[in-house]
Symmetry: C2
Subunit: 175 residues, 2 copies
């Protein structure tokens, strides 16, 4: 995937701060190329610091988006495609062939709270990870796992901190 | 899996309310048989209501745990095994054979904030979903996906609400 940007819409700064942070961290760890957020500059600042420590400044972009609708219209006008993650959509595993057919520039819309009908309409695909209520964080992780082939091991070469997976306890290297 | 209980430890009622709720919802949607929480009775009450609406009262148990250490000691004494999800552990995909060898009664420990060394020691396996910082919600979803074979479609027969996945918009049935 040349460009796979996760667009978080409807972020409510106080209420959604931690969930939105998890959405952003999952985006990075599971190989998206960027994270775009409607509002919530505070979240982006703390993510910038994380990229400094853990890496990703050269491979993962962060941006604030004033109007997600304008963002998506321009994205589509320039040839990009849009996937909207929603529990009301069609299950990701049955949609994998169509997702792969979308090409190599995809924006993944992840809502907080109720999502306007407009997004269902502009999306090329409305994709669910099961049709039960659970979590946009989990849905994004499974989506990226299926589309991108799993979590990235530890290949953020510009990071200062690295974890070596171990049987017991913690092994952390400061580069 | 006969019994697969997710044990959420270290829950801080105000700070972790929504993340813990997502952990519980992922447990249910991805086929765990129960969710146990250290503290946080308010979260359990709202989950009880969700089970009434969406189903799972007969297949998914909720409980509050006063001492997670006592819970895990008794679990192990009765033959159960323990998996601790941690970004410092060994990647889940390489550990799948060992996880399957643990048998059919597994408690999955999901921490909030810093986790005491004691849990790393009592765990039969310390398992990571990548060694990058992301989200316990995502880690649990991927773990259950690998171990349980994906999200449950919609087989909570006692629920009153059902979603039919659709290409555009929302299709909801009230039973």
């Amino acid at each position: 995937m040349k460009e796979l940007v996760v667009l978080r819409i409807g972020h409510r700064p106080r209420r959604d701060m931690r969930i939105t942070t998890h959405v952003a961290l999952v985006s990075r760890a599971f190989g998206a190329t960027g994270f775009a957020l409607e509002g919530g500059v505070g979240v982006l600042e703390s993510l910038e610091r994380l990229l400094g420590n853990w890496g990703g400044k050269d491979s993962f972009s962060l941006r604030s988006v004033e109007s997600p609708k304008t963002f998506l219209k321009e994205w589509k006008a320039s040839g990009g495609k849009v996937v909207h993650l929603t529990m009301y959509g069609v299950d990701v595993d049955s949609k994998l062939p169509q997702i792969k057919d979308l090409g190599d520039r995809i924006a993944v819309v992840v809502g907080a709270g109720k999502v306007e009908k407009w997004y269902y309409e502009i999306a090329d695909l409305n994709v669910a990870v099961g049709n039960q209520p659970h979590s946009e964080v989990a849905a994004l992780a499974i989506f990226l796992d299926r589309v991108n082939g799993g979590v990235r091991g530890g290949q953020f070469n510009d990071g200062r901190i690295r974890v070596l997976g171990s049987e017991k306890g913690k092994k952390v290297i400061m580069v």
